[in-house]
Amino acid sequence: MTPVATTFHTPHRVGHRRSTSEPPAVRWLLIGVALAFMALFLVLPLVFVFSQAFAKGIGFYFKTLNDPNAWSAIKLTLTAAAIAVPLNCVFGVCAAWAIAKFDFRGKNILLTLIDLPFSVSPVIAGLIYVLVFGAQGWLGLKFPQFADWLTDHNFNVIFAVPGIVLATIFVTFPFVARELIPLMQAQGRTEEEAARVLGASGWQTFWRVTVPNIKWGLIYGVILCNARAMGEFGAVSVVSGKIRGQTNTIPLHIEALYDDYNFTGAFAVASLLAFLALITLGLKTWVEHKNAALNEIELSK
């Protein structure tokens, strides 16, 4: 019992360590465990992709990427992303505007429904479009004329490009909305209301007040949405039919090469997507950094 009294009277400290931190040994052990785990599970696979991609030299690498099937896969992936990302962007802005700027009943249900695609397995995401548009699908049974009209105009959805685009839209559906809704809810509606009272039209308010405010959140959502759109495998795999040179996206082309035991080729194409992932992480960090700096300026005002 006596030590309590003595420490009270003697002002010098026994150790330099604060009572709310760990001994250095524990600290280094934890850092070591965390870094070892990350190295094994994240860094090693990343290094492996690039080392395998160039295993047969740079000539083979560019030969693989220059193949017509590879080009067609790259084009299809870019097309699907170019349609899915802007559409989900418009949706995200609309949903966030309605949810953040207005009060209405059923808002929580709507929020849950928007998140729904994230909790659905990619394979099921593809399956649902097969059930709607595929052979003996819902559309053909309920609206035979419309289905016939589509067939007559050579517009196939399943095992064709439109199905791939739809599946991509589904799996990337919540990304932009998810970033914008909490952001716009936190920002409230006072700035927009002020603009309106001062005589700005609805569009002027949106472009000059809202867009500058949500710019970074929007960019952030687009980056994540795009990464997933270009990398989606399961959902696209169900609806694509995997016709080489026609309905293969980059991930499906990787699978095709891998199944042919052309491992170096598969990793060469995979290195494109791994590179995209690194760019995504870099941009994401940059936007977060920008955003944090912006928030500090806001707070100091």
Binding site: M38, L46, F48, R105, V132, Q136, E255
Partner: protein, 283 residues
């Protein structure tokens, strides 16, 4: 009914409520709700006996056990290591911390097919890690261990990113109070810090578990997909689809969807709990 449900409660000077909500509901219905409803429409074309027989066939039952077991174990391992990673990133300073912090999101950013072929080759017999494990008699590729590894890979960011913000906001005074009352560091962690992190840890665990249940791309290459042994449930659905047996595929999809919806509901409850904990701390 719907118009009453989604009617704005008070008049606002801001325009565009009808337009934006209208488009939101239209797009949601077209892309998500109608196609998802097709699953239940397709199921209704099966008799109850057919449905039951499909979802309880031996390969499906084995796949549920495997998918649940591997997802649970992977989420558990991630909860442990994810907590350490989050702790280290929030509390300590070390060289390269910023890069490590960005790298945590790699499993989100790296397409699943790339992760799949990489893990399969890395842990294959001739792979960098497989080579080291083979002499020890450990086989990872084409076994259930491989599935567990792939699910651990994709689950890590969920735990780190749910625990990290809560850990950052923890009030140091609570730890100081505990320490001044004579608690040692381990007691402070076990009795003060960990209970406050529990809701976030559980949320992260549930998110990682839910993601793992539906995962396809990163698993199929390393799993080998041997019936009754290493076939996860999405692979069973894929197999039925390849045979154009849409009824069977849909029946198993219904099982997965129901589990996902229950999980989604529990995650919402957990998140509400996490936030409540947070606001009481602030007050």
């Amino acid at each position: 009914m719907a118009s009453k449900l989604f009617r704005s409660r008070k008049n606002s000077v801001l325009p565009g409520f009808r337009l934006t909500l209208g488009f939101t509901l239209f797009y949601l219905g077209l892309i998500v709700l109608i196609p998802l409803a097709a699953v239940f429409w397709k199921t209704s074309t099966l008799t109850w006996a057919q449905f039951w027989q499909t979802i309880t066939m031996p390969t499906a039952m084995a796949s549920y056990r495997l998918t649940f077991g591997a997802s649970f174990l992977a989420a558990l391992v991630n909860a442990f290591f994810g907590l350490i990673v989050a702790w280290v990133l929030v509390r300590y300073e070390f060289f390269g911390k910023k890069i490590v912090d960005s790298l945590v999101d790699l499993p989100f950013a790296l397409p699943t097919a790339v992760a799949g072929i990489t893990l399969a080759s890395l842990y294959g017999q001739n792979g960098w890690i497989g080579q080291l494990l083979t002499p020890l008699g450990i086989k990872v590729a084409n076994t259930q261990i491989g599935i567990f590894i792939a699910l651990t890979f994709i689950g890590l960011p969920f735990i780190v990113r749910t625990v990290q913000p809560i850990l950052e906001d923890l009030d140091p005074e609570l730890e100081e109070a505990a320490a001044s009352l004579g608690a040692n560091r381990w007691q402070v962690f076990w009795r003060v810090i960990l209970p406050m992190l529990t809701p976030a840890l559980l949320t992260g665990f549930a998110l990682a578990f839910a993601r793992a249940l539906g995962e396809y791309g990163s698993v199929i290459f390393i799993a080998g997909n041997i019936p009754m042994k290493t076939q996860i449930t999405p692979v069973i659905i894929m197999g039925e689809l390849d045979m154009f047996d849409y009824g069977k595929a849909t029946a198993i999809a219904v099982v997965m969807l129901v589990v996902s919806f229950v999980l989604l509901l529990s995650i919402n409850v957990l998140q509400w709990w996490t936030n409540r904990y947070n606001t009481t701390n602030l007050a």
